[in-house]
Amino acid sequence: MSNLLDLLVAGLATGAIYALVAVGFTLLWQTSQTINFAQGEFVMLPAFLMLALMHAGAPFWLAIILGILLSLLLLGLGFKLLLVDPMLRHGVLPLAIATMALAIGMKEAVKQFFSAEASPFPSIVPAGDISILGRVVSLQSLGVLALAIAVVIGLTALLNRTSIGHQMQATAQNPTVARIIGVPVERMILLTFLINAFLVALASLLITPIYLAKFSSGEVLGQAAFIAAIVGGFNQVRGAIAGGLLIGVVDNLAAAYVSTQYRAAVPLVLLIVIILFRPQGLLGRPEERTV
């Protein structure tokens, strides 16, 4: 029983990481039908931008700020203008393929211009463990979980309480109608890309001390976040959070009670079952729009 609790806590800690990456995924899908296969790499890159800035002599706090700004520029604005915009109206697939190519390109660039080695990354959350109900949990994991929750609350507030949020929701639900009633659809879509870029930069900052800065670290993250997003509900922010936490826990329980060799299979089977019997995901709403 105590073992089970340990696993749950550890699973939630990892799940929070997946959740954080998955949120951006769902945002991009909602407003622009972009399936971003490079989402994992999007989380990998900001840490390297910050490391590069620190190598250039910038102090940590400045590197963080500049790193986030660069992420907004490259992963938000640049990604949207250069890759998404020209391809969006040609359907989901070519763009999905292009993001796969982007993922390869980003990995290779980091490897070539930085290093194939894993580098340690300073943590903004103090390293160390804390005891909760007798379970030892690392402060870093708690930091990730706290941020994930803050992101959901923040985003939900933004979407439901502010007029920009309402406009974004209108854009997501039906861009044609939104345009007719005067929503600046283009600007709203751009905004989601910027929010995604900001989120991945934050995620990078929190996750990299745990995962280490490595060119390939996005592969595992991207796929886990992908599964989390679908399981939770591809079109709901809180769905992504729930999916992330669930996948983290299920993964740990599977490793402990099913088989370590097949631990990766359990979330996938869950994914298949959910798609077949509840395709909108656990917390998602049925899609009204066909793509």
Partner: protein, 332 residues
Amino acid sequence: MTVKGKYLRIALGIVVIGALIIVPMNFNRYGLYILSQWAVMTIAAMGLNLTLGYAGQVSLAQGAFVGIGAYAAAIMTTQGMPLIAALSVAVVLCFAIGWILGYPALRVQHHYLAFVTLAFSTLAFLVFRNEDWLTKGIYGISNIPRPNVMGFATNRPLPFYYFCLGSLGIVSLAMWWLIRSPWGRAFIALRENPVRALSLGIDTRRYTLMAFAIGSALGGVAGTLYAPLTQYIDPVPFNLSLSLDLLMMVIVGGSGFFFGPFLGAMIAVLLPEWLRFTQGYYLMLYAVAVMLLLIYSPTGILGILDRYLAARRTKAASALRAVTKSKLETAS
């Protein structure tokens, strides 16, 4: 014009086929290996092109079927059975599994279908890796023999290349037949407008499952060639990235065009090789090239050609109209 176009196309076809047979004769072993790889990947991509390009069903599991075929070939031929037996097993097995994998397509479409097949692809990889008793797990299976085809040994690179090319030829002919047959028309109807297809008596369920099953079986065919090509297989090449690569080949070549997979496989197999002179930058450049191509033409290489031909046709048509009009004007 169409008659002239037809002769032109036949002539071009003969030149290309002739070149594929004659030019590699003085290639070194590496060149032949790469070309053989191209032929094998083209077959797998053709299967996916049927499922995705013609019938419109997204599949991210084609790499898993190549794996199933490769393992069937590796396991059986290292036990002394002939490759043709392995081929039959692979085709039947992939057809059956593809058929089953098609069932989700009856419930969900588009990206959801992509996710289900993606999950299947990773599950297949785990089975290849973990079931040591069958697949020898991560150690892989080595010393896979190359077959004797009608009494000819294909151990040397050139005969084996011809074996791959010949297989590609047979598959292409079969595919051409299939696409032209009422089945091919039904697949296209399924992709373009399933509701209308249904109202015309087309059993969309059966055709959907068939598209999956046949496409997957072709993946199996490619796999049975892949195993004797590399003569060693382990689970790693058959992970999700192969499925994604094959998808990339289909989209980049031109999804739903007969020759799309040929060109797509060429880009995916040969372009990185051509770029290797840039050393550490070659995969980066490859990625950039793919992105630029897709930005320029999201419908792939043949999409460019298609647009060009369509533009010319419109121009010709408007020219014709202009001529008719001026004639009318002179007449009046």
